[in-house]
């Protein structure tokens, strides 16, 4: 592989992602124009819908919570040199673990249910990542392909469980019964109400706080522990890692278990926080958004938080857009999401090379003076 062109750190972390994002939005604007609406008006509507009201902000952060979990999941695997496309399936199965605790132990006090639900989500998510990880580590099976396959296997398994086993008796739609009230994540407006701040009711809930904690934990883990260092070394160069006495297969297993566990956090927000039951396809693509979030956030927890809020705003703003512009439906959000992944993930070299030339010319000029 060729070494990517060198950029100053601020340009690498700030300028380049902004340029990529800008180009993606311009392309989205062109599409909106083709649809016969004004791009500027559309973006303004989206921004207002997402950030202009308390309700909008609540929904934005609620969506962002899912994306923080899946974004962190993709990032941890990425630091170990692994591309985890299976966050969708891991979140699905992880949510099953959380949901089972809420269904069957949900009458216990909340302070007991919460840690059990977090633990079950993490364990189930990690377990779903374990087989692809083991196959990559010991049998050399390409993890991109196996995690894709495991997404489909997870979907089939969950359909089976919801249709045949977990379904609430006497009901047509494949959903479980509702969780008992002890197993419901406290909503943000209730928590804030207790300390005297009154805000509009939204699905934003305590899981957002847990997602922030997870982000902090990932930062400490990756940059402040021996284990995280070993993970980054193995991800950067597995030959060096072996020479330094780090076992690549242990890194693969460890990184994927953590990755799956993080993806498993999605159920805390989506099921415990909002839906209060297990239902079909509740991750609804958040695992794939996580890839976009990690790519845009440069796999750094702070970047991931920013990118997750941006995507949350995109989702919330998109529903506003589909209300107010009849020619545009929510699918436009998916298009923008895809464009951002394309520009930030696959085409980043397109602008990196000219940018690097620009900076090196500037440096040469400075040296000559």
């Amino acid at each position: 592989m060729s070494t990517p062109a060198k950029l100053p750190r601020w340009a690498e972390l700030g300028l380049l992602p902004l340029i990529n994002l800008g180009v993606a939005l311009v392309l989205a604007g062109v599409i909106i124009k083709i649809l016969g609406e004004s791009p500027l008006a559309a973006f303004k509507l989206m921004a207002m819908g997402a950030l202009g009201t308390q309700e909008g902000i609540g929904y934005t952060l609620y969506y962002a919570t899912n994306f923080i979990f899946t974004g962190l999941a993709v990032a941890v695997a990425y630091h170990a040199g692994l591309f985890n496309i299976g966050a969708e399936g891991q979140a699905y199965i992880g949510g099953l673990g959380t949901g089972l605790v809420c269904l069957y132990l949900g009458t216990w006090p909340f302070w007991l249910v919460l840690p059990l639900a977090v633990l079950a989500g993490a364990i189930f998510g990690a377990a779903w990542a374990l087989i692809p990880a083991w196959l990559q580590a010991r049998r050399g099976s390409h993890i991109v392909i196996t995690t894709i396959m495991f997404n489909f296997i997870a979907a089939a398994l969950m359909t089976y469980l919801l249709v045949n086993v977990l379904i609430k008796p006497g009901q047509q739609s494949p959903e479980t019964r509702e969780f008992s009230s002890n197993a419901v994540m406290p909503a943000a407006h209730e928590l804030l109400g207790k300390i005297g701040i009154s805000v509009v009711a939204t699905p934003l809930n305590l899981a957002f706080g847990l997602a922030l904690l997870a982000a902090a934990a990932v930062w400490i883990f990756i940059w402040r522990t021996r284990w995280g260092f070993a993970l980054r070394v193995a991800g950067a160069n597995s030959a060096v890692a072996v020479y330094a006495g780090i076992s690549p297969s242990r890194i693969i297993l460890g990184a994927m278990l953590i990755s799956g566990a993080l993806a498993g956090g999605l159920g805390l927000n989506e099921l415990m926080g909002s839906q209060h039951r297990i239902l079909m396809d509740f991750p609804s693509g958040a695992g794939f958004v996580g890839i976009a979030v990690a790519l845009m956030g440069r796999n750094h927890p702070v970047g991931i938080l920013v990118a997750a809020v941006l995507f949350g705003a995109l989702y919330q703003g998109g529903s506003q857009l589909s209300f107010d512009m009849p020619k545009i439906n929510r699918d436009m959000v998916v298009v923008i999401q895809g464009l951002i992944i394309l520009l930030c993930g696959a085409m980043e070299n397109v602008f990196r090379e000219p940018l690097a030339k620009f900076f090196s010319r500037k440096n040469d000029g400075n040296q000559m003076q």
Partner: protein, 324 residues
């Protein structure tokens, strides 16, 4: 006789399901043997399905629809090529991104152009769909029990794209193993440096490969929206692109075994449809989801190297640059 009819009908269903799978898997074969991971199969198929249905609905000609489908899929393939071949971008990300864009763009354009909630209009006019070609004496042959029914149900009555898909397998095998282009294509996926040293353009070969992949995905997508059904609906590929990728891997990146894998996967699908809600003695209601998950499970088992070995082209996923 009853069981025999059932088997023939099951085989006929297998062929119908296998066709788009096979076309997409062959598309992936060209791309992946040249060293470019083809995760964009799903997106290219879906894009082609939309374009084919939209153009066929507007112009009334299924052939124009097919052309539009091919052009769309090739354009998407070129986006992937530009990102991954010219600019050495991440091939997995590029394929996924294109797929996600198309998943959103199809219904978006569909809503804007046809105002039917993201679908295209029903293709019920004459010449708007690929319909079965009935071979001579098919109806008469149906009366003859064994070979007659096979002739009437399997050989006759299929649409042109199915015959095209059947022909593409030996043709691909011939290209890969009997032509200079095929030799170079296989070489560039294994050792691009050697190909470069021989004075052949690595990027040129890879661009040709992704364009061929686009063309075949165009046929596959057009089959879905203008032959298998009458119009485009949201997410109509429903993971078939990834299933095709699994078939390609299950077929060990070789044309004939890939055909076998497509038929096997299609058969499980046809079987699952047939067994939906059926109560079998001893087993009870068949858990259809497990049959549907079987292709993915089998592919994982194969990748794990427990039954035989699937060896990917050596340089797959590695961007090529001359400097090294």
């Amino acid at each position: 006789m009853e069981i025999y009819t059932l088997i023939v009908l099951l085989l006929a269903a297998t062929i119908r399901v296998a066709t788009p799978l096979l076309l997409a898997a062959m598309a992936g074969l060209f791309s992946e043997r040249s060293g470019i991971i083809d995760l964009g199969l799903e997106g290219k198929m879906l894009g082609a399905a939309f374009a084919a249905a939209a153009v066929s609905a507007t112009t009334g000609s299924v052939w124009l629809g097919l052309a539009a489908g091919i052009l769309t899929a090739v354009a998407l393939a070129l986006v992937i090529g530009y990102a991954c071949i010219t600019h050495q971008g991440n091939q997995v990300v590029a394929g996924m991104a294109v797929t996600i864009i198309v998943v959103g763009l199809g219904p978006t354009l569909g809503l804007a152009w046809f105002n039917l909630g993201g679908q295209t209009p029903q293709l019920d006019g004459v010449g708007q769909r690929f319909i079965g070609v009935v071979w001579p004496w098919a109806e008469a042959a149906r009366e003859v029990p064994l070979p007659g029914l096979l002739y009437a149900e399997l050989l006759s009555g299929q649409n042109l794209l199915i015959y095209f898909a059947a022909a593409i397998v030996p043709f691909s095998a011939w290209i890969f193993y009997r032509t200079r282009f095929g030799l170079r294509l296989r070489a560039v996926g294994e050792n691009p440096h050697a190909v470069d040293t021989a004075g052949i353009s690595v990027n040129g070969l890879r661009y040709q490969a992704v364009i061929i992949s686009g063309v075949l995905c165009g046929f596959s997508g057009a089959y879905l929206s203008t032959a298998a059904s009458s119009g485009f609906v949201r997410d109509m590929t429903a993971g078939k692109g990834y299933l095709a990728l699994a078939a390609l891997i299950f077929g060990k990146w070789k044309p004939w075994p890939t055909l076998g894998a497509c038929l096997l996967f299609a058969f499980t699908d046809a079987l699952a449809t047939r067994l939906q809600g059926v109560v079998l003695p001893m087993v009870g209601v068949v858990p259809v989801q497990f049959i549907l998950a079987l292709p993915y499970v089998l592919t994982v088992i194969l990748l794990a190297g427990f039954v035989g070995q699937a060896v990917a082209p050596k340089s797959i996923g590695v961007p090529y640059s001359k400097e090294k």
